[in-house]
């Protein structure tokens, strides 16, 4: 019992350390966002006076609100398309035998490690020529090409876990292949679908490279890129505090999303399907 107690303490201490390591920068940003005016030079962790001033600045600037609209819109569109396509593709990969199946998965994995910056410049030139530069579509396409492989990879792992019999039973019960897929396979793969959706949403939401290279105006510029264009009260002062406030604002949807779907992303939904 003593040994297990000390290991338990070890794990708790370790966990606290890691949590602090991860959260201190977040707290720092939150704290910064509440420091008004010159308070950011107060040389202490907490603001002397808690103030909403920076948040007011952020929301009163068109730069931020349009960027926020762009970010939300593009993230939702890209995520939806990506998840739908990935679900179909992953199902095919996990259920059908076709030549080059391993190659497809291999390439999918390779794309996810491909450096984003390498295609930013070629895309910039290409988009300008064909008129996709500075449009939503111009950003959604590269987002998809990066998020789709990852989603396919995640989802095919989930589909492989679903017993074949589920589908066969559905077929015998009178379902077409599509009905079996929609009424049985997709509900069973929901945790996977949500995982893929959240990963895609994060990736798109946090994108900076495409956002800054493929846009020139507020027409399509997402929040992370827009932050770089923030101006301070005067051109001599750095807009650190408003940027911190904006960063806090864009983090909130992510936190809410994770809290909402945390319960959906639980493994073991197939419990009770088959004996095991």
């Amino acid at each position: 019992m003593k040994a297990s107690r000390s290991t338990q303490l070890f794990w708790i201490a370790g966990a606290i350390l890691i949590i602090l390591y991860a959260l201190i920068p977040v707290f720092w940003i939150v704290s910064l966002s509440f420091k008004a005016g010159d308070d950011i030079t107060n040389k202490q962790f907490l603001p002397t006076v808690w103030s909403w001033e920076n948040y007011k600045t952020v929301f009163s600037s068109d730069l931020f609100t349009t960027a926020l609209r762009n970010s939300v819109g593009m993230s939702i569109i890209a995520t939806t398309i990506s998840v739908i396509l990935a679900t179909l593709a992953a199902y095919a990969i996990s259920r059908l035998e076709f030549p080059g199946k391993r190659a497809v998965l291999g390439v999918a994995l390779a794309i996810t490690v491909f450096p984003v910056i390498a295609i930013a410049t070629p895309l910039f030139n290409l988009w300008r020529t064909i008129g996709l530069y500075d449009t939503w579509l111009g950003l959604i396409i590269p987002y998809l090409s990066y998020s789709l492989p990852l989603s396919v990879y995640v989802l095919s792992a989930f589909f492989r876990e679903i017993p074949w019999e589920m589908e066969q039973a559905a077929q015998v019960d009178g379902a077409t292949a599509w009905q079996a897929f929609r009424r049985v396979i997709v509900p069973l793969a929901t945790p996977g679908v949500f995982t893929a959706a959240i990963l895609t949403f994060f990736a798109v939401w946090n994108d900076f490279v495409f956002g800054i290279t493929l846009t020139s105006s507020e027409a399509a510029r997402p929040v992370p890129a827009a932050l770089a264009f923030f101006q301070g009260a005067s051109q001599f002062s750095q807009p650190t505090a408003p940027i911190a406030a904006a960063a806090v604002v864009v983090t909130i949807p992510i936190v809410i999303l994770v809290l909402l779907f945390q319960r959906k992303i639980v493994a073991g939904l197939t419990n009770g399907a088959v004996k095991g």
Binding site: Q168, A169, T190, G272, K275, G276
Partner: protein
């Protein structure tokens, strides 16, 4: 309800392996047919070909007179209970049972409700309708799977080893339940199992398969009493039939412990000096001391040393080792391997009266009912003593029974 006819069905895999080989089988309307055999004999493949989950390489599959080879599973109107149940975990018990109905066109919500409740009450699932499969016991899941099968009007029920995941006690109960349900609904049923108790008790007829070939299709009684070959004889019955080397000398047969006359049926088929294999079931032996004299004369009495005894309360088994000649021993080992068992030594297993106070490692006097002995050709395995007249008798009895049952108003 429909008859199922199979004509020269073959299943060949990509690598040339034939899992099912030229099987022709007619299953009558309302009949309960069992497919049985050791693992890898092709019984499950055959069932999956009936339901359409496996392609048919060649041959014709007819359900209700229509060729269904190219039809998708959903167009065959069959229902199947899978070995691992394959329930939909995201749906409640009610929705699981209702699933096939929901896929049908032109059925009202009210009718779905009534039919699901009907099926559920037949299987005593009414108080579990709102639960999810994960919260059910093994037996309840099994019943849900059956509910899903019986909720529609189907041409036939197909069962793929449905009871193999249950414990022994529950298996017995569910076996009776399946039998009762099939009798009540009168639906043609094909049932795959490797369990002989299920095969013997459930089926009107039993089809024994071996390495993709059909060995014998007959009523359980006929399989037991008049097997066509050594494989069927060894497969049906527990403990299995004893196989002993038998040498023909003149008009007599020399067996270990015994010497008998060559049975009349086999007389023309054997030559002097030929080595045969004799098969006698454990229950056709008895402790000679407990047998009455009138019965005693009908068999042969011999003395032998008992190695081990097993007392089970209602019965008792005794093991008597003997020396088999190498040729027979090799043959028996091969057969045993095929039957998923291992012949460790050549021994007689005999079933004797539980009252008998036989002692281990002592010599005892035993009686064998040699009239019920079968003789097999060691090369082909063919049964030389099969009584065709008796077999035909048993077959017609079975047919009559089925006809009577089908004509009964339900």
């Amino acid at each position: 309800m429909s008859a199922i006819e199979m004509r020269n069905i073959v299943k060949e895999y990509g690598d040339g392996f034939k899992a099912v080989n030229d099987i022709s089988l007619d299953i009558a309307d309302g009949e309960f047919m069992i497919l049985v055999g050791p693992s890898g004999c092709g019984k499950s493949t055959l069932l999956r070909m009936i339901v359409g989950l496996e392609d048919i390489t060649s041959g014709d599959m007819l359900i209700g007179g229509n060729r269904v080879n190219e039809k998708a599973p959903r167009d065959r109107n069959l229902s199947m209970v899978f070995q691992n149940y394959a329930l939909y975990p995201h749906l409640t018990v009610f929705e699981n049972i209702a699933f096939p109905l929901r896929l049908m066109k032109g059925i009202t919500e009210d009718e779905i409700k009534t039919r699901v409740r009907e099926a559920a009450s037949m299987l005593e699932l009414n108080e579990h309708l709102d639960r999810k499969p994960a919260n059910l016991s093994g037996g309840q899941r099994q019943r849900v799977a059956m509910g899903r099968a019986i909720v529609r009007q189907v041409n036939a029920f197909l069962f793929d080893e449905p009871l193999s995941n249950l414990d022994a006690k529950l298996r017995g109960q569910m076996r009776t339940e399946i039998s009762r349900m099939q009798r009540r609904l009168g639906t043609t049923t094909v049932y795959v199992t490797h369990d002989q108790t299920e095969a013997m008790t459930l089926g009107d007829r039993v089809a024994v398969l071996r390495r993709g070939y059909l060995q014998q299709v007959a009523s359980p009684r006929e399989l037991y009493e008049q097997p066509v070959n050594m494989f069927v004889a060894g497969f049906i019955g527990s403990p299995p039939m004893n196989f002993l080397p038998a040498v023909v000398t003149g008009d007599r047969l020399k067996l270990p412990f015994l010497e008998v006359e060559v049975p009349a049926v086999a007389a023309g088929k054997v030559t002097d000096g030929q080595l045969l294999i004799a098969g006698i079931r454990p229950e056709h032996f008895e402790d000679a001391r407990v047998i009455d004299s009138s019965k005693r004369e009908r068999g042969k009495v011999f003395r032998a040393q008992v190695d081990v005894t097993e007392w089970l309360g209602d019965s008792q088994y005794a093991y008597i080792p003997f020396d088999a000649n190498p040729e027979v021993a090799k043959q028996l080992a091969e057969l045993a391997a095929e039957l998923d068992s291992e012949a460790l030594r050549s021994q007689l297993i005999i079933s004797i009266d539980a009252m008998s106070r036989l002692r281990e490692n002592h010599e005892g006097e035993f009686w064998a009912d040699t009239r019920r002995m079968h003789l097999f050709d060691p090369k082909t395995g063919e049964n030389l003593t099969r009584d065709e007249a008796a077999a035909a008798d048993l077959a017609s009895l079975e047919e009559e029974e089925l006809r009577e049952r089908m004509e009964q108003p339900r």
